[in-house]
């Protein structure tokens, strides 16, 4: 098992290197330079000023040297500074990570808490009223554009009904509130974005749960359980669900990088300073140190998530265990 794990971990290194190399290449192939934002179409900025800034930022170096320099720093866990505001990329990320992880974790838990039961109950009688009703509902969430749902939610719950704030994370006088009030204030601001993200996320998972469950309920051992006279509840949740959840482990593993990758659309509409906007703004500004740092960490988490899913799978399903038998 340890050997297997080591082999898998070592295997990650070339994949990760490849990903960074390709990202760096794509970044450089895209037209535009990090200095554009401050210099371009600014008649007060002369060509000389531009050349000077590029030299200061090391952008006049040949590409392979730029890449190797970056790689050398990253090997020492140094992601350098953002071109946009001169701060350490690590600081920028750490500042935004808590918000994004909180929102994503909340949405993920809610999605699981709602989608799995939805799928299970829909699977009991496929094609029944409940199944059809939930299908329509989750597919509305899945097919409607997220930004539109978000604006609709703001317009109705934020503007017309005034139940929740329109956007942002904190009330303006947040800092003057007591600890408890501050927590409540933030939670109150998070209701709409988390709610919309949950609604949008329901479809995929509930479909997986439903089809997994339908599959399982056709199995012989379920018939056996029924024949033994077990209660329907026990059949569904003890014998059925545990087996139906197997594919969901994979989905959970794949959701790991999603935890830190914020949604650009939601963060923009709800004015939330999260990872999605950090990444989007960095790409738009060709802020390569930030882009490369986020791509690398994202890739690493994706790879680790896959590995974790494989391991969890082996743990949950004896049929695919490696090694010791």
């Amino acid at each position: 098992m340890t050997a297997y794990l080591l082999r898998r971990l070592l295997g990650l290194i070339p994949v990760l290197l490849g990903i960074t190399l390709i990202s760096f290449g794509v970044m450089k192939l895209a037209p535009g330079e990090p200095t554009d934002a401050s210099l371009q179409f600014n008649p007060k900025a002369s060509l000389e000023a531009r050349e000077r800034m590029e030299r200061l930022l090391g952008l006049d170096q040949p590409l392979h040297r730029q890449y190797l320099r970056w790689l050398g720093r990253v090997a020492r866990l140094d992601f350098d500074r953002s071109f946009r505001d001169g701060r350490l990329v690590t600081d920028q990320v750490l500042e935004r990570l808590p918000v994004t992880v909180t929102i994503n974790l909340a949405a993920l838990l809610l999605v699981f808490g709602i989608a799995v039961p939805l799928g299970v109950f829909a699977a009991v009688r496929p094609g029944g009223v409940f199944d059809r009703l939930t299908t329509v509902l989750v597919f509305i969430g899945y097919s409607a554009p997220g930004f539109w749902l978000a604006l609709l939610a703001i317009a109705s719950f934020g503007v017309t009904l005034r139940w929740f704030p329109v956007s942002g994370l904190h009330a303006i006088d947040h800092e003057a509130l007591g600890l408890l009030r501050r927590g409540l204030d933030t939670a109150w601001h998070l209701v709409l974005p988390v709610g919309v993200m949950t609604f949008v996320g329901l479809a995929g998972l509930s479909r997986y749960a439903r089809s997994g469950m339908i599959e399982v309920l056709r199995q012989d051992y379920i018939r056996t359980a029924r024949a033994k006279g077990l209660s329907e509840r026990r059949i569904l949740f003890h014998h059925g669900l545990r087996n139906a959840l197997l594919p969901i482990i994979t989905i959970l593993g794949l959701a790991l990088p999603d935890l830190i990758a914020g949604s650009v659309v939601m963060e923009t509409i709800f004015s939330i300073p999260g990872m999605g906007r950090l990444f989007y703004d960095a790409v738009m500004a060709r802020d390569q140190n930030v882009v490369m740092a986020l791509v690398t960490v994202g890739a690493l988490l994706t790879l680790l998530g896959n590995l974790l899913a494989d391991l969890a799978y082996a743990y949950a399903d004896p049929r695919i265990r490696v090694g010791r038998r």
Partner: protein, 536 residues
């Protein structure tokens, strides 16, 4: 009799009370907060490094320059109490106001000015503004309040360059300006002091009680970052934002509700910039001035303004807004005249020989591609209207919309275009050297249309060397005349700036320089104040 007395008394009371009431209304009381909505976040809060508009907004309240523009666009002293330009134009001497203090209490001195200049020309500082100071020979602090700047040659835009915010030497002397923590905790001497910055969310400033003019009445300035315009508008509808920019559509159609009419005031004034169609003058067809003149006559500018900006703009006749002293008032935006345009094109050899509805010359139809950048809805619509209007003239225009970076790098910089639809927003000084001088045509420079007129070159050079306003006015009005005649661009329109502000703020007016020039004099009557008083 008695009734008459009552009436007299009432009149008397009213007569006495009216001025008292007026006085009560105009006597400003401090307090409250101004909540401003911005699409983008600031990046570095230092005047030398502030390049985006958000950083510029904040830096403008934290730092002052030696000079500034007043509401009539005249140059007046800011930190400088007075300034003199030597008769040869080579020396400018500034005398600072007495008793200006940094927010930490240290005095602002001539040494700070010298330090600011040194950092502006320091090659290790990431400032894009260094070129404005290339002609400076020396900056000397003669005494704590007097600075003398010497130039190698006279440079009139220099005055505008001294509107750059001055930075504190005692706090930055030992810092690397590109990365110093000061960029996120700035200390200035402006009307507001820095309080906090929650990245991507909010920047809070507090009134500076020691500001040299007077303490601003509005206690707090809250800059909320709301990246989506629709969200910003919804925040407005719930009263959570006091000041925001509107789109023409929002200004005309969506803000006409009873609530907005009651709670807000809309303002409108011409922005300092213009939208234009530029032609690649190396292209033989556009090298002929008559063709450009014909296009200017064929494009119906009022129709563009009505169709795209809902009427919220002014037709342009040249690079200066009508309010500018540099604009020649005798040049009016041309009235659309398709027949005259057709005649000019015929003169240039363009007629419809084969009767297919498209003009041709030497058997080749008049066809070209108009490019513009992606993500600007106004420009896309303008391009379509221009296409339609030139089509009526018999010119076949194709539109191509290109992502910004490749638009600039692959098409503009390399001059791979036939015609381009773009906008300039310029500083208040009328110097157009970078845009129209024939030397500014290298890759990455801004005379990308390739305009070359020796007379305009001469005027632009001269305009940079004289300081007297009347002489400069004469020069730039002549530039304006040449540009209107030569039409290197078809100057289309000047869009209006459309801010909306909560009605509780008093003493606010739209002027050519905007509404915020007298922010420190804005105030809110106590009974209308919304945000709690600032804790000291």
């Amino acid at each position: 009799m008695r009734r008459r007395f009552v009436r007299y008394a009432a009149a008397l009371v009213a007569g006495l009370a009216a001025p008292a009431l007026l006085a009560a209304q105009s006597q400003p009381v401090s307090g409250d907060a101004l909540v401003v909505s911005s699409i983008g976040d600031a990046s570095r809060l230092l005047p030398l490094l502030a390049t985006d508009s958000a950083s510029g907004d904040i830096v403008g309240l934290l730092f002052n320059g030696l000079l500034k523009y007043n509401e009539r666009l005249e140059i007046v002293g800011d930190l400088a109490e007075s300034w003199t330009v030597s008769p040869d134009g080579l020396t400018i001497t500034f005398v600072l106001r007495p008793n200006i203090r940094w927010h930490d209490g240290a005095p602002v001195t001539a040494e700070d000015v010298r330090f600011t200049y040194e950092k502006l020309i320091d090659p290790s500082v990431l400032t894009p503004y260094s070129s404005s100071y290339q002609l400076v020979e020396s900056v000397e602090a003669l005494d704590p309040r007097t600075v003398r700047v010497r130039y190698r040659e006279p440079f009139a835009p220099a005055l505008e360059s001294w509107m750059m915010g001055i930075i504190p030497k005692h706090l930055l002397e030992r810092e690397d300006l590109n990365t110093t923590p000061f960029l996120r905790r700035p200390v200035g001497m402006g009307p507001y002091r820095f309080r906090r910055w929650n990245t991507g969310e909010l920047i809070e400033l507090a009134a500076n009680p020691d500001y040299f003019e007077h303490r601003p009445y509005i206690d707090r300035y809250l800059y909320r970052i709301i990246p989506d315009q629709a969200t910003s508008f919804l925040e407005l509808l719930t009263g959570q934002v006091d000041l925001a920019g509107l789109t023409p559509l929002q200004y005309r159609r969506q803000t006409d509700t009873p609530y907005i009419r009651r709670a807000y005031r809309k303002f409108r004034y011409p922005s300092f910039g213009f939208t234009y169609v530029g032609y690649n003058l190396q292209d033989a067809r556009f090298a002929d001035r008559r063709v450009r003149q014909a296009f200017n006559l064929a494009i119906d500018k009022p129709a563009l303004i009505d169709g795209v900006l809902f009427g919220l703009g002014t037709a342009a006749s040249g690079p200066y807004p009508q309010e500018s002293w540099a604009s020649d008032p005798s040049i009016r935006p041309s009235a659309p005249d398709r027949e005259a345009a057709r005649a000019l094109l015929a003169e240039a050899g363009w007629t419809d020989h084969d009767g297919d509805g498209v003009l041709d010359r030497d058997g080749r139809p008049f066809q070209f591609t108009l490019i513009t950048n992606q993500g600007n809805e106004v420009r896309r619509q303008v391009a379509e209207l221009v296409q339609q209007q030139l089509r009526a003239l018999g010119v076949d225009v194709k539109i191509r919309i290109i992502e910004w970076s490749s638009f600039v790098h692959e098409f503009i910089d390399k001059r791979r275009f036939e015609a381009v639809l773009l906008g300039w927003s310029l500083s208040r000084d009328p110097d157009l050297y970078d845009l129209f001088h024939s030397s500014k045509t290298r890759e990455g420079e801004y005379n990308f249309v390739g305009y070359a007129n020796p007379e305009v070159d001469r005027l632009l050079e001269r305009g940079r060397r004289v300081f007297e306003q009347e002489e400069r006015q004469r020069i730039y009005r002549e530039v304006h005349r040449h540009l209107a005649e030569d039409q290197p661009y078809t100057f289309l329109f000047v869009p209006d700036a459309l801010p909306i502000l909560h009605a509780r703020f008093r003493n606010v007016a739209a002027t050519p320089i905007g509404i915020a020039y007298n922010l420190i004099d804005w105030h809110v009557p106590p009974e209308e104040q919304r945000y709690r008083r600032m804790s000291p």
